[in-house]
Symmetry: C2
Subunit: 158 residues, 2 copies
């Protein structure tokens, strides 16, 4: 990806533009930053590693065992129809199980397997290493500030 700051032969006559309008927009900067982080995430997790959303789903199943699919979809902010493929993948890999809930036969509670728990802990270490490396030009305080500010945007969730 090329920086907007680079000079293009045909735009030299526009060199007086200090910073393009786009750079002032939070949304544009969020998108560009997210593209970098998720690409590095995929690189770090490898060819057969978890996609970001699969990692997120596994994380929540491990930490909220017996969560329902609808509940998980709500937590992730996606439709429950979109969760089926994710749960299929995790179950196919033997990392979680769909289990029946006594008292409500509509529900499939999701529980991590032993393998799922260890896989998650391993993957979490890889993800932490990826973020530590990629964001090494941010101080601990800056990272905390970034989380706080993103949290303010996320306060609009629901």
């Amino acid at each position: 990806m090329a920086s907007l700051r680079k000079t293009d032969r045909r735009t030299e006559d526009e060199a007086h533009i200090e910073a393009p309008d786009l750079e002032e927009f939070i949304g544009y900067n969020l998108k560009r930053a997210y593209v970098i982080v998720q690409a590095d995430f995929r690189r770090a997790l490898g060819e057969d590693g978890f996609a970001p959303r699969v990692f997120s789903a596994l994380s929540l199943v491990v930490q909220y065992p017996n969560v329902t699919q609808s509940g998980l979809a709500r937590m992730l902010g996606i439709e429950r129809s979109g969760l089926v493929a994710i749960v299929d993948e995790l179950e196919g890999r033997g990392l979680i199980k769909r289990t029946n809930v006594p008292g409500d036969r509509r529900v499939q509670a999701l529980v991590p397997t032993a393998k799922g728990k260890t896989s998650y802990v391993e993957a979490r270490a890889v993800v932490r290493a990826h973020e530590d490396r990629l964001l090494s030009n941010l101080s601990t305080e800056e990272k905390a500030t970034l989380l706080t500010l993103l949290g303010k945007i996320r306060s609009h969730e629901d």
Copy 2:
């Protein structure tokens, strides 16, 4: 979108989890924040309004007239094949024109039309209003800090 902090009937026994692992990850928070901002962007621009990437492309053509498609793709961080549909849309709406460049007949320089320039200025006002409204719980200083921190992540571009 439901907050992770909300209690689910089946996860009440996990209430001792202070904050899910996911919340510590910059990537996850970036994604969630971006989803909110881009959804509000689309709502603000309306049914027939610009999609974010189309707005971005128009912005750059207005500010860098005579930019080539390859140059624009580089600036936006996407493949030049992906730019064709965007330029088609903008040209179809009469907002930009593909023009021949004397001296290199491979190149299509992109220039905004008069309508394109005024449409851009109008859209930019709508986008600014959308961000001002959506991010009104962030101070001017916090917004500047956020841009700075996102810029540090974006320093990995290229």
